[in-house]
C-alpha cells in the first residue's frame, strides 16, 4: 500500500470526502482513518471545501415516523430500570407531534381498527398500542364509551410473570403527569373490563399508558417495579373520525 505518499494521501482523502472512493479501497481507507489523526484532518478539510454545496439541496422534512423509530431504538438500548422512567417520559413528551398519528397507523396495521372513511361506528374512543423496550407491540388497549364504559386489553406479545408477581396498568395524565393505577393485567387472554366513572376519566385524561411489574395482591398507589410496556394514548374521536 502506498498510504505514505503525501500527495496520494490527500487525493484519497478528497475522493473519500467526495464519495468516489468505493469498494475495498474505501474500506481500507476507513480502517486507516481510525488510527491516523492526520489523515482525518485531511478528510475534514475536504469536507469543509465541499460543504457549501449543501446549499444546493432542498430541505425536505422527513415523516414523523422516522424520529419515532429512532426514539424507539434509543429506548430499546437504555436499560429498563425504573429510575429512568421519568427521564424517558420527558423524552416522549418532547416529541408529541406526529406520535399520535404513528400510534394510530400502527394500530391500523395491526388490524385492530376497521376504519371506514369518516366514521368510527360504535368503535373505540381511545387506543394505546403499548410497546416493549425493543419497540415491539406488546398489547393493545382500547376503550369504549358505548354501550357502557369499558376497556378491552388484547395481549399481542407479552412475557409471562413469575408466581407472586403481577402486571399493573397505569395511566399517566396529560395534565400534570400524575400516575394512577388502572387495572391488573391478565397475561393469557383478551380482557374486557368495565370502568366506573373515575376510571373512565383517568383513561380520558391519559397521555400514556404504562405497565409495570408489581407484587401480586398489592394494590399499589405508585409504580414500584420496572416499566415493561408503554404506549401513547390516542383519542380517536378527537381525530375527526366521528
Amino acid at each position: 500500500m502506498r498510504y505514505d505518499d503525501p500527495g496520494l494521501r490527500d487525493i484519497l482523502a478528497g475522493e473519500y470526502a467526495l464519495g468516489t472512493l468505493r469498494g475495498r479501497a474505501r474500506e481500507r481507507f476507513r480502517r486507516l482513518l481510525e488510527s491516523d489523526a492526520k489523515l482525518r484532518q485531511l478528510v475534514t478539510a475536504w469536507q469543509e471545501r465541499f460543504a457549501p454545496l449543501i446549499e444546493e439541496t432542498r430541505l425536505v422534512t422527513p415523516p414523523a415516523r422516522v424520529f419515532l423509530a429512532i426514539k424507539a431504538r434509543l429506548e430499546a438500548e437504555s436499560a429498563p430500570v425504573v429510575s429512568k422512567r421519568w427521564q424517558r417520559l420527558g423524552f416522549w413528551q418532547a416529541l408529541s407531534a406526529g406520535v399520535a398519528a404513528v400510534a394510530l397507523s400502527l394500530a391500523i396495521l395491526l388490524g385492530v381498527l376497521q376504519l371506514r372513511p369518516g366514521t368510527v361506528p360504535a368503535g373505540p374512543s381511545y387506543i394505546a398500542v403499548l410497546q416493549d423496550e425493543a419497540a415491539r407491540p406488546a398489547l393493545i388497549v382500547t376503550s369504549y364509551n358505548k354501550p357502557s364504559w369499558h376497556l378491552v386489553i388484547e395481549p399481542k406479545q407479552i412475557h409471562g410473570v413469575a408466581p407472586g408477581q403481577a402486571m399493573q396498568v397505569w395511566t399517566i395524565a396529560r395534565d400534570g403527569g400524575a400516575t394512577r393505577p388502572l387495572v391488573t393485567l391478565a397475561v393469557e387472554r383478551t380482557q374486557r373490563i368495565n370502568l366506573d366513572e373515575a376510571a373512565w376519566k383517568l383513561v380520558k385524561g391519559a397521555e400514556f399508558l404504562i405497565v409495570t411489574l408489581e407484587n401480586a395482591g398489592d394494590v399499589p398507589q405508585a409504580p414500584s417495579g420496572p416499566t415493561l410496556y408503554r404506549g401513547y394514548c390516542v383519542n380517536l374521536k378527537g381525530m375527526g373520525a366521528s
Partner: protein, 185 residues
Amino acid sequence: MSAEPEGRALEDLIARCALGDRAAFAALYRASSAKLFGVLLRILRQQDWAEEALQETYLKAWRHANRFSAARGAPMTWLINIARHQAFDILRRKEYRVGDDLDEVADSLYATGDDPEAKTETQHALRLLRRCLERLSADQRQSLLLAYHEGLGPTELAARLERPLATIKTWLRRGLIQVRECMKT
C-alpha cells in the same frame, strides 16, 4: 421552517447529546433533519432507503457525539458527512441502483443556493466554491457535482457520461487538485 440555527447552537446541542441529553437530541433532529433528509433522498432516490439512512445517521450522531469537536469541522458538516457515508453504505449493501428514470427525483431536490432565507455567509462560501468549479472543464465539474450531490461512484459516472472508467478517474483526481489549489487563494 425557521431560520437555520447558528453553528454554535448545533455545537451546543451535540455537546449535550454527548452527555446523554435526549431533549438536546430531539432539538438537534428538529434543527438539522430536513437538510440531511434532502441530501439522503438525492443520493438514494428512494424514500424508504432515505428514511432508513436518516435513522442510522442520527443514531450514529447520538452514539458518537462525544467524538465531535469543533476542530473536526462545522457541526453541520459533521452531520452531513455521517449521512452521506451512511448512504454510501446502503448503496453498497443493496448492490442495486435505481435507473435513470428516477433522475427526476434527484433533479427535484436541486436548489439554486440563492434562497433569500439562506445566510449570507453560506451564500458567500458557495460562491467561492462555485467560482473554483467554474474553472474546471465542464466534464470535470459535472463529475464532481454528480459525485457529491447524487453519490455516483466512478463506475456509475462512466456509464452516465459514456466515458471510460480511467478517464473518469483522471477527471475526478485532476478536478480535486484544481479545486484544492483554487481554494487556497
